[in-house]
Amino acid sequence: MSNSFVELHARQRAEALLDAGSTRELIGPFDNMISPHLEPQNIVPEADDGIVVMKGQLNQKDTVIIAIEGAFQGGGIGEVSGAKIVSALEHVLADNKAGHKEYPIIILDTGGVRLQEANYGLLSISEIHNMVIALKQYVPVIGLVPGRVGSFGGMSITNALLSYVIGTDKARIGLNGPEVIEQEAGVKEWDSSDKNLIWNTLGTKQRQATGIIDEVVDDDVNAFRTAITAAIDENKDSHRDQRGDFYLSLLDQLDPSQPLDIAGYDQLFKQVVAKPHHLAPATSGSQPGTKSRGRNWFELLTGIKNAQSDVPTVLHAQADGREYVAIVPAEDNRFPRVRHGEVGLQEGYTVASVINDLIAADADKPAAEKTPIVIVVDVPSQAYGYKEELIGIHMSLASAASAYARARQAGHKVVSFIPGDAVSGGFLAQGLQSNRLVALDDLDITIQAMSKASSARITQRTIAELEEATKHVPAMAYDIENYQKLGSLYNLIKGVKGYDSDDQAVATVKAALDDAFKSLEDAPADLSFRYTNDIAVNGEGGGRKATNKVRALMDQQW
């Protein structure tokens, strides 16, 4: 209709929501802050890199709108766009901490990570998650999902973390696009040409009925203004990232070997009674578990042989005064889509329950005495499946990311140790919320935002072309050595491989972990190390130079 919000582009959306005459854009199109990564890959850039940050007032309340332009590169998040969002949220947090009430609103219209800057995108999105979680302690962080793109990929996890989310019926929300699921799991799992199925599963109508979005309004500017005002005035927060008990109870009742359709799920959803879930630490078993690098190192570092757990894919235990958490493959697992170590519905919620229990147990301890956490990272991806999307796997991953972030923000030191793969949403949930990343220098490690097969399909290239194109571009590379050039790693451990198990290897890794934890004494509890270390600031291979430029300019213009 004629006052459509969906039809507007990002800048117009921000202007339409804010009171006339109150607006000021930060790092706008005249500031020449374009992505340095697109032109070298023959992609036309945009002057604002697809993000509009605008200060102003909404019904006389100080507001900061962060609007993602869905029409530019599918609203994908890259280095500059990610840094604009993160730095803006940081300032909102600082202002609120200083007693200046200021309301952040994020307009999500995004496919998630921008594939041409995949590694930067994934880092940025984890940093956005961190800021949203921190901000919620002060103000509701409102999200809008107007459509057409909706909210996908890593940004669907953001979606789940927000206090209150408002959409229209022109939007969809999900972790993996149907095309990716078709690519990874076959057309019988999900036919990406079936628009009815897609909209009925991922559309906001279904999402509202099952708690994934809070409110669906008419496509009208005033409808959005009214809904936002109410959410702010009533301080609405759905605590969507802390519903683990409900979903774990739901999963207890689900038979993953049987097909699940929408009606069946709706019925299941209605009848679930949430029961508390706590996972006991792993114990030694008689039979070895399914082999993986994550299991190998979990067992080596905790000293538990043939570790076994009530949830076969999640191992946790304390050793040397540290909490170790690993997600591992289990070849006969009840949920078929996580048998190779993927992070699925059960894994995210279970990890969250472990960490939440730890936060609660240590709640009264001073920060220095809170149990340090080691995330053992070996996640080939998130789970690709129809049921996963129908139930909302992004909510599960958000629960895990939220738990790690809240632990860290509460004073737990969190270090990720990467002996295996660290891919996509799996990595966002299990690894990227730590304040130190330590990896083995092992070229068998794949670290990226999307599998090669899916990336090739989405960007309409062959895998060979993709490999050729990414080999020399750290922003897109798949190996740990290129990843180090971004500055995101605290330490790249030389001479140890993922399946090593000799004493020297173990000693080397333990020493590296000790060193990482030592570095966290008196260090900030945030994720700033990744863009402030020497490689990030000065590195020739890329680093986070653009991130730092954006941050400096945001400081200046704020």
Binding site: M1, S2, E7, D169, K170
Partner: protein
């Protein structure tokens, strides 16, 4: 005087044929399974046969049956069809069942038509305008057999063609009163018809069809696909033509440009204060994009050539606006619609694929002999017309005491088409196609002399104001963008043409380009149209909004 001449040979031949088939015909009714035998028995080699292929409604069952007859029994037919729409319409030429074709429109089969003419498989009588085709059914193309489609028939053989009556009456009448044979395929046989559209008396044979006739939602345009350029052009048209000429009655060709105009009337038109002042009367198919204008009170009446899938309930609930029978369903009539287009309307607004440097336009491009829809009738000026309206009078030349007004014929085009090829060209592809297909006339859709305005994203050329062909060309060049034609434009000449009101750019019309956004549309998608219709419009599945 010698022997008395037999003055009823046609009647006797018809009676003989029918009685030869009497074992298969019970009253007027034949069995579905006998359809092929009936056609083989009633159609003679060389017959003139009208096969109902309308714009939307297709006598699918009869066309498929005709394609299955034995070419040894039925051959060399002379087909007369307003629309060549289906593969089997052409298969009958490959198999020798037919050899000659008179037609109007061949859009969906244009590549094959073009090839078959070039190969000599299909001989063309003429490519007609609709009215010429209908008219000649009564003069020199009087059919021996007509094959038509009805929605329902009753036990007596009365036909209900209802909503999609279209051209069934004009076809049936030409045969029924000149001893041609009228064969009808029926979706359904019922005891009581909602109303009688064609009396049983005109009908010879009825065959229940194995499946309902094919119906295409040809006039539905999803507002989702309307672009800002189309909105800008629509704004210019409303200001620079509808308002300027005080247009009261109009036909819109099918397309996104005119859909944009329809969706801007309740918003932009309202802002300009034009409601109640312009376009109360329409000759147009019940296009869904008119719903917002109807609902907001812009439209007094709409007469339609044919129906449109999904609009049935909405129309039934708006009898003040549409032509609706006592039974509550619309009656359409393409022949009357075309007549109205010629003689009653102030204006036709259409679009095309190519316009030459002189202003002639055609939708025929290389390799695609698409023929024409309603545009040539709607888009020509009947010089005998004398009923005048303010719009008609506003085109009257100042310097001629006997001068008279003119129908407004407006072409709206973007300078480059969707295939990125220029719309404005030095010479139409149609000129080449004429040579290849050995046609008598270049298949031009609307002639330069009839075209009064051209609207592009750059501006409007008021061609009726030009005093020479050179000036007309200069006016076209001024708005033809960076096409080969536009590149010839001389900035000094453009300035002069603008000063004299022969060419107008948006700023000359008071049109603000920055207002040309999709938010200005009264509906942005199909869902919005459904909301406007209060749930009465039911879009076909393929138009379901996916956002």
């Amino acid at each position: 005087m010698s022997e008395e001449r037999d003055w009823a040979t046609h009647r006797e031949a018809k009676a003989n044929k029918l009685s030869a088939m009497s074992s298969m015909i019970d009253g007027k009714f034949a069995k579905t399974s006998d359809a092929k035998a009936i056609l083989e028995g009633l159609i003679a080699p060389g017959d003139k046969v009208v096969l109902e292929g309308d714009n939307q409604k297709q006598a699918t069952f009869l066309s498929k049956t005709l394609a299955s007859v034995d070419p040894a029994k039925v051959h060399d037919l002379h087909m007369i069809m307003s629309s060549i729409s289906r593969p089997e319409h052409l298969d009958i030429f490959e198999d020798g069942i037919a050899s000659k074709m008179d037609f109007s429109f061949a859009g969906p089969q244009s590549t094959r038509v073009s090839q078959m003419i070039a190969d000599g498989t299909l001989k063309v009588g003429d490519i007609h305008t609709y009215l010429e085709l209908y008219a000649r059914l009564y003069i020199d193309l009087i059919p021996n057999v007509v094959l038509v489609a009805a929605d329902k028939v009753d036990r007596d053989g009365n036909l209900y063609t209802g909503y999609n009556t279209e051209e069934t009456p004009v076809i049936v009448e030409s045969a029924a009163f000149h001893d041609g044979i009228v064969i009808v395929q029926a979706n359904e046989v019922v005891d009581k018809l909602p109303r009688v559209d064609i009396p049983a008396d005109w009908v010879d044979v009825i065959i229940p069809a194995d499946e309902p006739y094919q119906l295409e939602p040809l006039f539905t345009r999803d507002p989702q696909n309307i672009t800002e350029l189309q909105i800008l052009m629509a704004m210019m048209a409303i200001r620079g033509i509808y308002e300027k000429h005080n247009v009261q009655s109009v036909n819109h060709g099918v397309g996104f440009n005119t859909a944009a105009i329809e969706l801007l009337l309740p918003t932009y038109g309202e802002q300009l204060g034009l409601k109640g002042k312009i376009v109360p009367n329409w000759e147009v198919n019940p296009t869904p994009t008119l719903i917002p204008a109807i609902e907001s009170g812009w439209v007094q009446s709409i007469h339609s050539f044919g129906g449109e899938v999904g609009m049935e309930k909405y129309i039934a609930a708006r009898p003040d606006v549409f032509f609706v029978g006592k039974d509550g369903t619309m009656r359409s009539n393409r022949a009357f619609g075309q007549m109205a287009g010629q003689y009653a309307l102030d204006m036709f607004v259409g679009s095309t694929l190519q316009i030459d440097q002189y202003g002639n336009s055609s939708t025929v491009t290389n390799g695609r002999l698409s023929g024409f829809g309603g545009a040539p009738n709607m888009g020509s000026n009947p010089t005998g017309r004398r009923h005048s309206t303010p719009a008609w009078q506003s085109l009257r030349p100042d310097n001629d005491p006997l001068g008279k007004g003119q129908k407004l014929v407006v072409q709206m085009v973007e300078t480059f088409g969707s295939n990125k090829r220029p719309v404005f060209v030095d010479s139409l592809d149609a000129v080449e196609v004429r040579k290849e297909a050995k046609l008598q006339n270049v298949p031009i859709m609307i002639y330069s002399e009839d075209t009064t305005h051209i609207v592009t994203e750059e501006g409007i050329a008021y061609l009726y104001k030009t005093s020479s062909m050179a000036e007309r060309q200069a006016a076209i060049e001024a708005i033809a963008g960076v096409t080969p034609v536009g590149l010839r434009s001389d900035p000094a000449v453009v300035k002069d043409l603008r000063a004299r009101g022969i060419v107008a750019f948006p700023e000359d019309l008071g049109v603000n380009r920055n207002q040309a956004t999709r938010s200005l549309l009264a509906a942005q998608n199909m869902e919005d149209l459904v909301k406007w219709s209060k749930g009465l419009y039911n879009p076909p599945a393929k138009f379901r909004s996916w956002s």
